[in-house]
Amino acid sequence: MERSFVAKNPSVLVFLAILSLFTLGVTILSEGFGIGVISTSFVKTLGKTLCLCLIAVAMDLVWGFTGILSLGHFAFFGLGGYMIGMWLMYERTRLIVVESLSQADIPPTPSEVVDAIGTQIFGVVGSSEFPLIWAFSHSLVLQLALIVLVPGLLALIFGWLAFRSRVTGVYLSILTQAMTLALALYLFQNDSGLRGNNGLSGLQNLPGVTASQDVVSIWFLWASALALGLGYMLAAWIVSGKFGSVIRGIRDNEARVRFLGYSVEVYKLTVFTLTACIAAIAGALYYPQAGIINPEEMAPIASIYLAVWVAIGGRGRLYGAVIGAAFVSLLSTWFTGGQAPNIPLGFHTIKWVDWWQVLLGVSFVLVTLFAPQGIGGLFDLWSDRRHPDRHCANLGPDDGALREKEAIE
């Protein structure tokens, strides 16, 4: 007898309930729609955190379930942000330009309008021409499509090349890292046409929207929560079915799955591309809240941090990724924000601004060594599941031939 998807995955229901409660709570406490306990800047932080949770879910799917440690997903995240940013900048500037040109004696020609927009957008970087990649920026619909298409295509091509030639394991990680680095370096150049190091800015001001940021920030919070909810359900649905079993199989022993007749490359490519698209959507929601996107966001270190979040939260379980991303990024905000109290040691005062990175680095090593299940592992304690003491070794034929399910129960 087939049980329904929800019945098989009670955690999805719990997660969605918590997410909606959270969103409702923040809305009530916000300045825009509620009693104003939570400041708008914190609402933005929370909204951004939800986007980070979404990309963490994508990362978990590709790493925790499929075993591909991609150190390049922030590249897709950033690309998504650039795609929406291009439309936001173009449209906002167009409104300004049309307004100012309408004051002139003679109505402007379309090419004059475009030239003036170009001068405004690229004036800061000493140019005024529209590069080719801005060809679709006038259309919201096309640009929205590009949010998914550009990173998706990049992931497809890169993944196809990499998986086809059977690049696996750490090689693949290094290769994805190189891809991010190349993309970031490329975007750093002015010639790339996306304003180089300056990036695209002022993205929080939606063109034609006069509502204050107090309200806009809540809209984005809702949108981010919705995207996270949908993304979570999609990921849960993927990993619960037969597809999920195959990708877990690939993670645990790729060669065996291949010998069983599955086209491993197709599965990997599907997951890789799909998660790239999810990452891009998360990015497209993130950067209008952050207000500015520039190539520094895509530096290789960002993608490594993403892996860190997922590892600390707990790989191989979707809620673990969400917890990890939310926990570490909020904690990071708290520590680097200067709110954490200093600890005087007599000879040296520990300022968390200086020591937070050290703490993060060390705790990361400790988690990897002693708690490979991450924070999510706490739920196992609670539900009384035990992991066998494997001395950190992999599951698989060499190590007692336990399947993961058996090993847990």
Partner: protein, 650 residues
């Protein structure tokens, strides 16, 4: 009455340089008081000319004092003196004419004259006539440098005169060379110039080209007919590659031989100036939102004569047909220009060859830096298969060790000699500790090693920031590494880079020796190929792994000292190299030192090659290089030198 007399006498003095000469240098200086006090290159010439024209012996001392910023002006009367700091803010002044100390003054009563380097260069040129035959070799050298920087025709004669009596062979050669160069540019005799040009046409020096190039400078001109009194270089055809139609027409416009084209901007301005009751040229203003309507309205305006007519293609063709376009040499003598062109062609070819050589040297140097950064990784990652993201931080720790050692040992040579083993010791200990505490638990999980070592990497980086600050720290190379090995003016490479290259070679040798000739190397190879088998042969795999990792880390530390010497020591020094280092190892082929060498070579040469093709954007070179590597990996996933058979593992 008497005062008035004195005053007029003073004015008389100032006006009569002949009288001034008897009185000494100070009156000359005073007659140019204002411009000397201002010391601007644009205005200073009369003052310097007057000083040199005076022929006074003290002029040399005075000019040298001035150039050394040791000349001071007394605020009370505006007189100039040589100043020397006594103590604190008081200065002892010496009169130029008498050479006597006239007293000690507070700084607030004085104004220091600070000639900028432009003025200093002019002073230097003025000093040449004194210094060329000076007793002091240093002064004669300074004179030659001044001539080199600002070659002038007037210097040719004194230079020629001084060659005869030059005792120093080295200086004599320099003087002769300079004489040839000045002859090319300034000799009155055309035959002598041509001879000098031909003589120097084998020389690669920048100064030779600097002397020849001005001779072949051309100016683009246009005229109804080809002039006969000019030294014409080439006649240009409009519409050819050398001169496009647009350029040709622009040239006509610039020479006032044709009417300028009317641009869209001009049309708009003209239209908005001629709005007449909501219409321009009969077209309603609201319809003027496209170019056709605007052109139409403008044409209507032009017919009424309100604006100048549009320039049509036919007009352009007509104007171009009526004129000749040509380039003329600024140098009047055709024989000289012809000889210079020929010499330059010859030199350019040789320069091209040498530039290629220089590029090759640069590429080798870059490759050896990458190799040095990656060699430790070739051991830990290549041989052991451990991903160590903290490798870059080991490089950084090595560099900081060098910096710390220099704080205690001020002698740069000694400090580097101490720093190298110290850096090895520090990073070796660090590597061993890391292997024992973290990595050995994770041998079965390479991906997690990557993440755990990344954690260590960010912690170490932040620790370095906390200890040393974010400011870059100096790691100074010993004096004998300053400067560069100069083959000629085109090919040169700094000694530091050569030292790095040598160091890279030494490490290559050391590595090969350890791996192939020592017990440890044998054990290492055994353990990495099959740890269980090695274990049953009596090798302690744990100990060997520990030592191998320590060795790799230690070499990274030494690489850090070398890299710090030629660049900078900052806390993110390591992260600059980590991705490149992994690339080097992966591209070259894992498990093989020759692979790392090949990888470093390929990346170095590639990057320099791309830089050469696109010299204005270094960032592009790095981007394209990475893209190339990604593609390369697709076709040779195991790198350039792939291990075959059982050794390939997996």
């Amino acid at each position: 009455m008497f005062r008035l007399f004195l005053a007029s006498l003073a004015i008389l003095f100032a006006c009569l340089p002949a009288n001034a000469q008897e009185a000494g240098l100070e009156p000359i200086l005073q007659s140019h008081q204002e411009i000397i006090a201002k010391s601007s290159r644009k205005t200073i010439k009369p003052a310097i000319d007057a000083i040199t024209a005076s022929g006074l012996p003290q002029a040399q001392v005075m000019l040298e004092t001035w150039a050394a910023k040791d000349m001071w002006m007394r605020k009370s009367d505006g007189l100039f003196f040589a100043g020397k700091r006594v103590e604190g803010r008081s200065y002892e002044l010496t009169d130029f004419d008498t050479g006597e100390v006239i007293g000690t003054y507070e700084k607030s009563d004085l104004k220091q004259l600070k000639p900028n380097s432009g003025v200093r260069a002019m002073i230097g040129t003025a000093l040449v006539q004194y210094q060329l035959t000076d007793q002091d070799r240093k002064r004669r050298l300074a004179a030659l440098q001044s001539i080199q920087r600002d070659p002038e025709g007037a210097l040719l004669e004194p230079l020629r005169a001084s060659i005869e009596d030059e005792t120093d062979a080295d200086l004599k050669a320099q003087k002769q060379r300079l004489e040839r160069l000045l002859t090319i540019g300034y000799d009155a005799d055309t035959a002598a110039r041509v001879a000098a040009v031909e003589e120097m046409s084998n020389d690669l020096g920048v100064d030779v080209r600097a002397a020849l190039n001005p001779l072949v400078v051309t100016t683009r001109m246009v005229a109804p007919n080809l002039p006969t009194d000019e030294n014409i270089a080439i006649v240009l055809e409009p519409g050819s590659e050398a001169l496009s139609r647009d350029e040709a027409y622009d040239l006509l416009v610039a020479s006032n031989l044709a009417a300028p084209r009317v641009s869209q901007d001009d049309i708009r301005t003209a239209l908005s100036a001629n709005i007449d009751r909501g219409r321009v040229g009969g077209v309603p203003v609201a319809q003027l939102n496209n170019e056709t309507a605007r052109t139409q309205a403008y044409a209507a305006l032009a017919e009424t004569g309100a604006v100048s007519a549009l320039v049509t293609e036919a007009d352009i063709d007509d104007a171009l047909g009526k004129h000749v376009f040509f380039e003329t040499y600024r140098e009047a003598s055709p024989t000289v220009t012809a000889a210079a062109e020929k010499a330059l062609d010859h030199i350019e070819f040789k320069v091209g060859l040498n530039q290629t050589l220089d590029l090759l040297l640069d590429a080798i140097s870059l490759a050896s830096i990458y190799f040095l950064a990656a060699i430790g990784l070739a051991i830990t990652f290549g041989v052991m298969g451990v991903i160590n993201m903290a490798h870059g931080e080991f490089i950084m720790m090595g560099a900081y060790t060098g910096y710390v050692v220099q704080q205690f040992i001020p002698d740069h040579t000694l400090s580097i000699i101490v720093a190298i083993p110290m850096a090895f010791a520090v990073t070796f200990a660090m590597g061993v500790a890391m292997e024992r505490l973290v990595i050995r638990w994770l041998y079965a999980r390479p991906l997690e090693t990557l993440l755990a070592t990344f954690g260590i990497s960010i912690a170490l980086q932040q620790l370095a920031k906390n200890i040393f600050g974010t400011q870059a720290r100096p790691l100074t190379a010993p004096g004998w590494l300053d400067g560069a090995w100069v083959l000629n003016d085109v090919v040169s490479i700094s000694y530091v880079r050569i030292a790095i290259f040598v160091l890279a070679l030494i490490f290559l040798g050391l590595f090969l020796y350890i791996m192939k000739r020592t017990r440890l190397g044998l054990e290492m190879r055994a353990v990495t190929q099959n740890p269980r088998m090695a274990g049953s042969m009596g090798i302690n795999p744990g100990r060997v792994n520990m030592l191998t990792f320590g060795l790799g880390s230690g070499i990274a530390g030494i690489a850090g000292v070398a890299i710090g010497l030629f660049a900078k020591v900052t806390s993110d020094l390591g992260s600059d190299y980590i991705v490149q280092s992994f690339m080097t190892v992966v591209v070259g082929g894992v498990g093989n030192i020759w692979g790392a060498l090949a990888g470093a070579g390929m990346i170095g040469f590639l990057q320099k090659g791309i830089e050469w093709m696109n010299p204005s954007n270094t960032l592009a070179a790095q981007t394209y290089m990475i893209v190339f590597i990604i593609v390369f990996i697709q076709f040779r996933p195991r790198g350039i030198i792939a291990l075959k058979g059982r050794a390939a593992g997996d």
